[in-house]
Symmetry: C2
Subunit: 213 residues, 2 copies
């Protein structure tokens, strides 16, 4: 089992705030995500700026693309993103069209997706998924539970690289012990720390402690 | 049965192209949509520009929002949008959060949504849906058929305002005769016409011919 990576989600509302957040944590994380909120607020400019500032980091454009996969992916790639996300309810042709334009595509799991669909994605060449607790569902009181862990385990056993996100705190990581998580995606819990850099380093240390044995 | 409205989808890649398209057709359409491609490419700037240029038009930000509904909707409203779209696989809390920030929210129907879910959306106060043929699915050879028309009819009978989109040509409108369509959304078939204004006016005339009797 390899060490899960750490991804910072820049779910800021403005380019300037995102660049500030990135400047504080970039050295401590493996992957920088331009969050959906930021993509919709500022377009591809944050991707272009982050690419110029961090030429060697993996950058994900979290577009949650639902249609016109080829065009959206081309725009993301041109701006400098390595990966892009598509929503699970997109059609397989949309996902395939996106994949032809990018290094890699991540399928964002929301709502009532099925493992049968996951097999179709795999058949189309998609090998990354993002398992979510929706931010709004978390606010409405949902939490990580055994049903989530079972699904994540099953997806890893199918061969997917599974990224995990949604209300992740330092204390939450232990829940995933023994599961071959590809990446933990954290946003506020790092960005809102007194020192975001130290916040990120604590996540890295905890990942090392749990998966590095 | 009231007359279906006409919506132009600005699925351009750049702000300048979108403003050019809008300038040619705005007078002929009821609703201007900032398409997903454009939102992701240019952020909310197209919404701000279109609001300033067309203060009395309904503007839809087609974000296909999947999460953080309240934040994304607030950004869309602040930029000047009247309506915003959410993807059907978003959680109901995401949809409700979006609805608190906007005049109205449209649920975009992709993938394996169910009528049971549609009832939940309705219970949460959502009364608009957008029925799609995915652009990528159309390219892959799918077309409008009786199964689509039956679903659209059922949604209207449930009380939804149903907008219809995806590969709509002038000749396609006749298919929907007798169905209480709220809005037809057209993009390329208008934008790529020799005269986009005349293209839009032909759609309006055809809508009048079929639904205006």
């Amino acid at each position: 089992m390899s060490l899960p990576k750490l991804q910072i989600a820049l779910d800021n509302n403005t380019l300037s705030e995102a660049l500030q957040s990135a400047s504080m944590v970039a050295d401590a994380v493996d992957i920088i995500e331009v969050g959906t909120i930021l993509c919709v607020a500022e377009g591809m400019e944050p991707v272009r700026c982050l690419r110029s500032l961090y030429p060697n980091k993996v950058i994900v454009a979290d577009t949650k693309c639902a249609d016109a996969g080829g065009t959206v992916a081309r725009n993301c790639r041109t701006a400098g993103a390595n990966w892009m996300t598509v929503i699970c309810s997109a059609t397989v042709p949309t996902m395939k069209a996106a994949l032809t334009e990018m290094e890699d595509i991540q399928v964002e799991l929301y709502g009532n997706w099925t493992f049968e669909e996951a097999k179709l994605w795999q058949g189309a060449g998609l090998n990354q998924v993002v398992y979510h607790q929706s931010r709004d569902a978390l606010v409405a009181g949902e939490t990580w539970g055994e049903k989530d862990l079972n699904k994540i385990r099953k997806l890893t056993e199918m061969g997917f690289k599974v990224s995990v996100t949604g209300g992740l705190e330092l204390e939450t990581l232990e829940l995933f012990k023994g599961i071959d998580v590809f990446t933990f995606i954290a946003g506020r819990s790092i960005r809102d720390a007194a020192s975001p850099f130290e916040g990120a380093m604590k996540f890295k240390a905890e990942i090392n402690r749990i998966w590095g044995e």
